[in-house]
């Protein structure tokens, strides 16, 4: 099962290496990872998506908690969540197709963030399944470049 694990950590050198090392040391691949400071000074949030065995990941979560620089760890896989991912994609846009492309993108909820002579750069923000569907939708237009932020999540109020 694909797990969503978040950790509040001290914003210090080495902490990401410790967290990632615990997971990669078991041969598990982190599918998505995002890190950023929180509203509290010195505390960052790490959000990871890790596919793997439930039992092993339960153990990993406990061991993450044991790290001195880690303040709190939650496996939010089954919790009610708000999740978002941001994608930037640059799509080939010859003048003849451009208008149709932009219309399709905007209908899907994307916005145009840059235009060049031969390409446009689009941005979409949404749940992972939605942004994935949008990427599929753009494939016929020949995607030149793509960057995904990795998902970030917050528990819905009332959830753990």
């Amino acid at each position: 099962m694909k797990h969503i694990i978040t950790a509040l950590v001290e914003n210090q050198p080495g902490v990401l290496a410790r967290v990632v090392g615990l997971i990669s040391g078991r041969g598990y691949n982190i599918e998505s990872l995002s890190v950023g400071p929180t509203h509290e000074t010195g505390i960052s949030r790490i959000t990871m998506q890790v596919p793997g065995d439930d039992r092993v990941l339960a153990q990993v979560t406990k061991q993450l908690n044991r790290l001195v620089d880690v303040i709190q760890v939650n496996d939010l896989t089954t919790a009610p969540l708000l999740h978002r991912e941001l994608v930037l994609l640059k799509v080939a846009a010859p003048p003849a197709e451009r208008a149709a492309l932009i219309k399709t993108a905007q209908t899907a909820g994307a916005t145009v963030v840059a235009e060049e002579s031969a390409a446009v750069t689009l941005q979409i923000i949404g749940e992972q399944a939605d942004v994935a569907a949008f990427i599929e939708q753009m494939k016929p237009y020949s995607i030149l470049d793509l960057a995904r932020s990795g998902i970030i999540v917050l528990a819905r109020s009332g959830a753990a």
Binding site: D69, V70, Q72
Partner: protein, 573 residues
């Protein structure tokens, strides 16, 4: 204003350090310059691995934090095995390592290694100090982290320019680390649940591990076991946490456990692990481990719960506090049937060996050591068959008297660890039980014992083999002895030594001991052992006693790897 090096020395002193093990180099010259004037006893080792094992032995014997100082690059990499050894067994240690100056880090500078990167997975925590003002706080934190919770080694990597930089910063505590909550308060509900389970159990068993020794809870275990009449088995690291001379003691369990202990595990209806983490050498095949038992586990480390064996009643907390709360809630019982049953197994299948054998057996040597020291020595071991026999044929009655690398199984641990033990306990008899293979891995450290008049006694059981590996090859690899013959004859074709150059066996341990300034003795027959041991114990200063023992003796009972604890091999047909 003080320098970073001053802060390091002050940090050690503030933490109560009296004794330091180590070896200098370019990036720790500033620390050693201050050490020159410091009220700290210093042991100059001959290899940094020796320093880590000495600090480790010192910690295991005393309960205090062991301290070592090593230089950057090769000094730090040499320390890695010792850090990993301490980390696996939960031993408090602080290792200060030098690092190249801050502006050179990452440039492949001379003697640079990414020490915090290399040691991240083998320490409880580590620091790379980038600002001298942080040093006093970091040292205080390092000691706090090393000794609290599940103890462990902490490495502090200090670049040379930070050692030289000036600061007015001090730290007087208390240590506060947001993410570090080492001692969870045990829930009274969990304790009550466990008490009820114990009161209800017909066939309960205690499984006692190293956590009881680290948590200073041996007295509580003994009180509880006697009050409720519950038999006790221990892990390798738990030896000494419960007196093995007590009628309730079933001795060690697991791969080389006693029949009584392993049967009791398989038959009990309640298994209470007290500070034991269900290592695979303890459980055998997990699916068949304690199949009839409700399983309870008292541990300070939440991540130890249900790691391999699913636990029904977890109690997370400091073992001493948990037991103190538990004792009044547990009712006195007789449990006559169960105790009769386990003691019948113990009588029928004692840990034993063939006393009629004409050759000198390694087990007999250890039994003789037990008698000659009246069970009052502190024993350290290397790793291999001799380690298991040291667990079988010496009886441990007090915590911190059996000192061995359990988790990592580090050959080369026993001799330097004994030096650390003796440094902590000057008036105790300290005996290392060693194999002829392991003891060579850090033999050079014997010089340290000689120089400081630490009268360790090293008993080498020379079977001419890497015996434990040979035993596995005998039992599971068709007796094809590959790379286990330390004697020079009978080797596999690809290891053959030209007959004209054969010396029989190298090195000559008696000469080797003498070359290091110690006394060397050798025996090769049963009748010599008793007198030789007397002589060894009476002789002042370090002594090496080499016992030439039967070459192909095996450790029994043995649970083959992956088998259940009921499938014990008693003897080779």
């Amino acid at each position: 204003m003080r320098t970073g090096a001053d802060c390091i020395i002050d940090g050690l002193l503030q933490a109560g350090t009296t004794t330091v093990f180590g070896l200098p180099g370019g990036t720790v010259l500033d620390i050693f310059a201050k050490l020159y004037h410091a009220p700290l006893e210093f042991f100059l080792v001959r290899h940094e691995q020796g320093a880590t094992h000495m600090a480790d032995g010192y910690a295991r014997a005393s309960g205090r934090v062991g301290v070592c100082i090593v230089t950057s690059g090769p000094g730090a990499t040499n320390a890695v095995t010792g850090l990993a050894t301490a980390n696996m067994d939960g031993i408090p240690m602080v290792c200060v390592s030098g690092q190249v100056p801050t502006h050179m880090i990452g440039n492949d500078a001379f003697q640079e290694a990414d020490t915090t990167g290399i040691t991240r997975a083998v320490t409880k925590h580590n620091y790379l100090v980038k600002n001298v003002d942080d040093l006093p706080r970091i040292l205080a934190e390092a000691f706090e982290i090393a000794r609290t919770g599940r103890p462990g080694p902490v490495l502090v990597d200090v670049p040379k320019d930070i050692q030289q930089a000036k600061t007015s910063a001090t730290f007087s505590g208390p240590v506060k680390i947001r993410g570090y909550k080492p001692t969870p308060e045990a829930s009274p509900r969990d304790i009550a649940t466990l008490a009820e389970a114990i009161n209800k159990a017909q066939k309960p068993l205690f499984l006692v591990g190293g956590g009881v020794i680290a948590g200073e809870a041996a007295a509580e275990v003994t009180t509880l076991a006697r009050k409720a009449q519950i038999p006790v088995t221990t892990t390798l690291l738990g030896l000494g946490a419960f007196p093995e001379t007590d009628p309730l003691a079933l001795r060690m369990l697991g791969m080389h456990g006693s029949v009584a202990a392993n049967r009791a595990v398989s038959e009990c209806d309640l298994l209470v692990s007290i500070g034991a983490r269900f290592d695979d050498r303890v459980t055998g095949k997990i699916a068949l481990f304690a199949p009839n038992a409700i399983k309870a586990h008292i541990d300070i480390d939440p991540s130890a719960i249900s790691k391999s064996v699913a636990i029904d009643i977890p109690v997370i907390g400091h073992v001493k506090a948990v037991l103190q709360a538990l004792i009044p809630q547990v009712e006195p019982r007789k449990r006559t049937d169960w105790l009769n049953q386990v003691s019948a197994w113990a009588r029928e299948f004692p840990l034993t060996f063939n006393r009629d054998d004409q050759e000198l057996l390694p087990q007999e040597v250890i039994e003789q050591v037990y008698l000659a020291t009246r069970g009052e020595a502190i024993i350290t071991t290397e790793v291999g068959q001799h380690q298991m026999w040291a667990a079988h044929f010496y009886k441990y009655t007090h915590p911190r008297t059996f000192i061995s690398s359990g988790g990592l199984g580090t050959m080369g641990f026993g001799l330097p660890a004994a030096i650390g033990v003796q440094a902590a306990c000057r008036d105790r008899t300290v005996v290392t039980i060693a194999g002829d293979g392991s003891v060579q891995m850090n033999f050079q450290e014997l010089v340290v014992a000689v120089e400081h008049d630490l009268p360790i006694k090293v008993v080498i059981l020379n079977n001419g083999h890497l015996g434990m590996v040979r035993q596995w090859q005998e039992m599971f690899y068709k007796r094809e002895y590959s790379a286990v013959r330390l004697r020079q004859d009978d080797r596999a074709a690809n290891e053959q030594i030209d007959t004209t150059r054969r010396k029989g066996y190298l090195p000559d341990f008696v000469k080797l001991a003498e070359a290091h300034g110690a006394t060397g003795l050798r025996v090769d027959s049963k009748r010599e052992v008793g007198p030789a041991l007397k002589k060894m114990l009476a002789q002042p200063g370090p002594v090496v006693l080499e016992c030439i023992v039967k070459p192909e003796e095996n450790v029994y009972p043995m649970v083959p790897p992956g088998a259940s604890l009921t499938e014990m091999v008693q003897n080779m047909a």
